[in-house]
Amino acid sequence: MKVFRIVFPLVLLAAFIAFPFVFTDPATTTVAVFTLFFAAAGVGWNIFSGYTGYIALGHAVYFGIGAYAMALLCQDWNIQPGYAPFFLLPLVGLIAAAFSVFFGWIALRTRRHTFVVITIATFFIMQLMAYNLRAITNGSAGISLPIPFDWTADFFNIPFYFVALAILVLAFIASWWIHNSKYGLGLLAIRDDEDRALGLGVNTGPFKLIAFVISAFFVGMVGGLHAYFNSSIFPPFAFDALFDVAIALMAFLGGLGTLYGPILGALILVPAQQYLTVQAGSSGYNLIMYGVIFLVIILLLPEGILPTISKRWNRWRASRNRAEATPDIVTSPGAENSVAVESSGKGVEQ
């Protein structure tokens, strides 16, 4: 199992790297680029919401701030199209993270429902700001970014694909590291019982805020990259309510708080969403279909795919052990709640 834990992500990475060389059709790689955008944002989001159990439905704020930061930096510093804007991404992420310190500080004063509602409210505040602060954002007219004209249509997606993959890898490493660290264990303790965690000496306030800021950093970078990819931004697309729930839904589908869950969710949902948008157009069918998929996922797989599989697997293994008939083997008490046990088990190893 240990070897598998190291080999599997490398195999996955190799598959991601090989993908654009196997499927060179621009239409396919565009979908792949969007999938990576959402996977990276989802992994980032999961670092906060998955591990702490605080469901933030306002991460489009940091996506939008990243997008506007990218556009404004390109404009003010007169960045030439080409590879140069990619180097701005870490700065763009830091700008989004700086905003998240303030919003996170306010939102994390509350818990549960109130927290969710405040994250939604910050989203609407920032969307209105994008419309109203015309001096900075140019209002609903939007801002254009440099367009790399000398990239051919066949080549255009490739740099974006690999930069998005780089962000995904970074986010995944951060997620992996946190998941296996004492810090991550503290976050999981907050998810399971915040008051008890506080009583046991977990410094819950800073713990939550740091996770929030880390997740905003990654989502902000994705926002900046997405803006450059689209080469223009407008308030409703930079601050998109559907983005808020899309990343949450992807994490829920794959498995909230698991390492691979958001990636798996993005791999399933983004192509489906792109297909539906193309098929259904704007007559409302895409919304209906998306809503129905949403409902089906939540009602049938409320725990997500990966936790359901690992639960089944544990149960199957437990029953096999029992069949081998050594009566003194106690079946794993963690089989009921494999995710939590798995993670705390890792923490003990450290």
Binding site: R109, T114, F124, L128, V245, G284, F294, L295, I298, L299
Partner: protein
């Protein structure tokens, strides 16, 4: 200027009553079931479209049409609770937010598909006619909407405080588990509460649709305001919802007059943030205790 501000305060109070109606449905659902119904905004818009449809095809006056639309919406609410909310067993709080969001998207999609994305407004003789107070003209619909809200809120009050069902409902709000233990059929109470909340949304929809242009996408703006109102008032507090709606609408309307209409919503949100920094539980909310 003073006159304009006075006028803004009056319209703020009158429209605040309508928001109070929609928000009380939302906060009631939260109080009993501990879920936030993100679809409330979409259900308001759906109610407005139902009235619009009744009026366009059968010439039913929009206020009288409520006698038809409110029962329909009540049963729709019961059905939504039954089919989509009740099956949620684990992590109900968070999943219900996503489920109701999905319902909002479906409603928006169906409406976009059936009626298109054009903006419409409800019409009746009292929508365009107005009367004069001082030197300020006030459309009748604002007064009618306010009166409608007051009547329905009084009805809600009587239901909650004077009937046996009201006792069960308030008991469920206080403590769901304990209410279940003393023999209250909590699932029935939940379904009926959801229905009432949705029926109130329909009534709010008529007053909203007659004073605003709306299209299927309008529910985002509406639900964001309603969420702000119920959080500001304190989740699950009816009194908080009433006071917060009126305060928010007055603040918004006065901002629109003294500064600019584009900033009224922003000020609305900034007030929320300011209040929550001082009182994280909202104006009338109870501090969240330890939940096991």
């Amino acid at each position: 200027m003073a006159n304009l501000i006075l006028g803004a305060v009056i319209t703020g109070i009158l429209t605040g009553g309508v928001y109070a109606l929609m928000a009380s449905g939302l906060t009631l659902i939260f109080g009993v079931m501990e879920i936030i119904n993100i679809a409330q905004g979409a259900l308001v818009i759906l109610g407005a479209y139902l009235s619009y449809w009744l009026q366009a095809n059968y010439h039913v006056d929009i206020l009288i049409g409520l006698l038809i639309t409110m029962p329909i919406m009540f049963f729709l609410g019961v059905a939504i609770e039954w089919v989509f909310i009740r099956p949620l067993k684990i992590n109900r709080t968070m999943l219900s937010i996503l489920v109701t969001f999905a319902i909002a998207m479906i409603i928006e999609g169906v409406l976009t598909n059936r009626v298109g994305a054009d903006y419409v407004e409800l019409n009746a003789w009292y929508v365009n006619a107005s009367f004069k107070i001082g030197n300020y003209y006030l459309p009748y619909i604002y007064v009618f909407g306010f009166v409608l809200s007051v009547i329905l809120l009084i009805g809600l009050y009587l239901l909650l405080y004077r009937t046996k069902f009201g006792y069960s409902l308030r008991a469920s709000m206080q403590n769901r588990t304990a209410a279940e233990l003393i023999g209250i059929d909590i699932e029935r109470v939940s379904a009926i509460t959801f229905g009432i909340g949705v029926a109130l949304a329909a009534a709010g929809g008529v007053a909203f649709g007659a004073t605003n242009l709306f299209n299927p996408g309008s529910h985002y703006d509406l639900i964001s305001r309603l969420l702000v109102i119920i959080v500001l008032g304190g989740l699950g507090s009816l009194r908080g919802a009433l006071i917060a709606s009126i305060a928010m609408l007055v603040i918004g309307d006065v901002t629109a007059v003294v500064w600019s209409p584009v900033w009224s919503s922003t000020v609305f949100f900034i007030v929320l943030v300011a209040v929550l920094v001082i009182r994280p539980q909202g104006l009338f909310g109870q501090t969240e205790g330890r939940k096991q």
